[in-house]
Amino acid sequence: MDLMLAILITVVGASTPILIAALGELVVERSGVLNLGVEGMMLIGAIAGFVVQFHTGNSYLALLAGAGAGVCASLIFGFLTLSLSANQTATGLALTIFGTGFSALAGSSYSARPVTLMRPLFPAEFAASPFTKVLFGYSFPVYFAFIMVAAIWYFLHRTRAGLILRAVGENDQSAHSIGYSVIGVRYMAVMFGGAMAGIAGACFPLLLTPQWAERMTAGRGWIAVALVVFASWKPFRLLAGAYLFGLVMTMELYAKAGGGPLSVIPSELWAALPYLATVAVLVLISIRRDASTNAPACLGKPFLPSN
């Protein structure tokens, strides 16, 4: 039982940054924009968060710095794809290359410098027993991710602004003709995605491993992008998907460490499993119901007003 709870705690840690980044990307894609630069924005957020944590020790400021850096990075993408209608796939990839290089350069003087982990949100008494620890033992970003799942669902489906955002993603021409600023809405969405990716990146030094290492997100930004499709652009499914993914990644390590029957699976297969599982789930969703019906109709297409 205690082991189950311990596994759960590790799963929460592994899933949180992926979930936060994916939530941001979900909003971006709902507005009809595909930003493949999540990995790059996460790395920029990670180094910004690390630097602020290192110099101030204030984790909330560090998260804010991650968000701010993510927004700045996303504006490069926004300007190129929205103002200049550049190809979104290529721009996103370029942003990832940029983020990898930029963060490595900015972080080069911060190696061999540890920081402290972000403190848990609740006082230690709340997390005294293993059972309450599972509920109250985490720091702020974990709860933030859960709140954002509900908030984004509410925003998309219960608010006027959310309706406009979805309209822009589904049919930009008619949203434009009704008088909404398609480009304006998409800018907001892209910036929100940047902020979330930045926070997700900052989670790496603040939650998982209190140091800066080049490319420390190690491909998790790409997983976040994949999860959005996996979740058919629905926030609560995204929550399930991110935790499922975190579970698979974590189970690999627990199975290997535990030496039980699962440990006979070659480690390479374990390492490939999350990716194969993503493909499998994409297929399953599609067999049940055409996945494309959920995809924002304008996803990835530049908006050019036909006047």
């Binding site: 061999a112 140091q211 290492a213 080049e214 190690a218 990644m249 460490a257 030496g259 480690s267 390479e268």
Partner: protein
């Protein structure tokens, strides 16, 4: 070239004997330029960082008699071939290729630059101007294992490995053998994570093992992530790898294995300066100061420190070798008879685990 691997080894063996017969292919030089090729970033806090420290050591010792250049993040493959040629062409007299995967490239390029001295870390293919060097990290593991055997309460240590290569397998075995000398019930649980540098995954692997009862952690990956988790969880302790990582976990790092390539790099540089460089095959350890132990943590009791120091001293004066039989493998079969010490060649191709190591997937 149409030589098979088998022939090649023979040829290179013959070539290695040449300098002993008084060949002086390498002329004396006034000032030396040394090139270093790193597989990762010099800021990795571990393996590549340590090699770069070695470079700085040479610069400090030789002053204006030396100029050093380095290229970092070089992929293991044709890209390396190009980098080696670039460095040779820029006038480097001595080039260190610091990762195993650079070997093929070195064998291809070195013959084109017969006046340049090449040295390959952790490899096995030498040549007329390719020397080999490696460090006996396992000696450090034996010291760590002694401490682990004394201090572990659960009698279980975790070991995070990248890939199951002999270098890593040897380290796991050395830790287990030395721990079991102290506590016969001591076991080591290896987990391979298929990457050298994914700190979050290293950290989660450490968590997974700690949750399942280990209270000592060792790792053979490039950073301090596992040690930081050990500190966060407050287990008995862990060991720094490659460099002193006490800054990352001051309470938790019991000691560290420090790759101290400086003396080797200096010796090679001085040999090139003097015109006496010859391709060697060095595998140095604690004795030559190429492997160092970090400071012992204040919480390690004095008698444990004394025992660890004894193991260290024994390896320095040659009276103790951790891979001396009887050694059984983890299926119980005897692999090394009592009193017999494994040869270097056997160690360098080790692909089995000793008793007390859980068989990894």
């Amino acid at each position: 070239m149409t030589i098979s691997r088998r022939n090649f080894v023979k040829i290179s063996g013959a070539a290695m004997a040449l300098p002993l017969m008084g060949s002086s292919a390498f002329a004396q030089v006034e000032k030396i330029k040394i090139g270093f090729i790193y597989v990762g970033s010099i800021n990795d806090n571990g393996y590549n960082y340590a090699h770069n420290q070695g470079r700085l050591y040479v610069e400090e010792k030789l002053g204006d008699k030396v100029e050093t250049v380095f290229v970092e993040n070089v992929p293991e493959g044709p890209d390396c071939e190009r980098v080696i040629r670039e460095l040779a062409q820029q006038g480097c007299n001595l080039i260190f290729a610091t990762s195993f995967g650079f070997g093929d490239s070195l064998v291809k390029v070195a013959p084109q630059f017969p006046d340049v001295a090449f040295e390959h870390a952790t490899g096995y293919m030498s040549g007329p101007n390719i020397g080999l060097y490696n460090a006996r990290f396992y000696e450090g593991r034996a010291v760590c294992g002694t401490i682990a055997g004394h201090l572990s309460v659960t009698g279980k240590a975790g070991y995070i490995g990248s890939f199951p290569i002999p270098e890593v397998v040897m380290g796991i075995n050395a830790l287990a053998l030395s721990g079991r000398r102290i506590n016969p019930a001591f076991t080591v649980k290896p987990v391979y994570i298929s990457t050298w540098n994914d700190p979050a995954k290293e950290a989660d692997a450490a968590r997974a093992m700690i949750d399942q009862g280990i209270d000592i952690i060792a790792q053979h990956t490039d950073g301090p992530a596992a040690l930081q988790v050990a500190a966060e969880r407050g287990i008995v302790g862990g060991f720094g790898q490659g460099a002193d990582m006490s800054a990352f976990a001051p309470e938790t790092q019991l000691t560290a294995i420090i790759d101290h390539w400086g003396p080797h790099y200096l010796a090679s540089a001085e040999a090139v300066l003097a015109g006496t460089w010859a391709p060697g095959n060095t595998w140095e350890g604690l004795k030559e100061d190429v492997v160092q132990m970090g400071p012992y943590n204040a919480k390690v009791p004095a008698d444990v420190v004394a025992d660890a120091e004894k193991i260290k001293a024994g390896q320095i004066d040659g009276s103790f070798h951790i891979f001396t039989g009887p050694i059984n493998d983890n299926t119980g079969a005897e692999r090394v008879a009592a009193g017999v010490t494994m040869t270097d060649a056997e160690l360098l191709s080790m692909d089995w685990y000793v008793e007390g190591v859980e068989q990894p997937a």
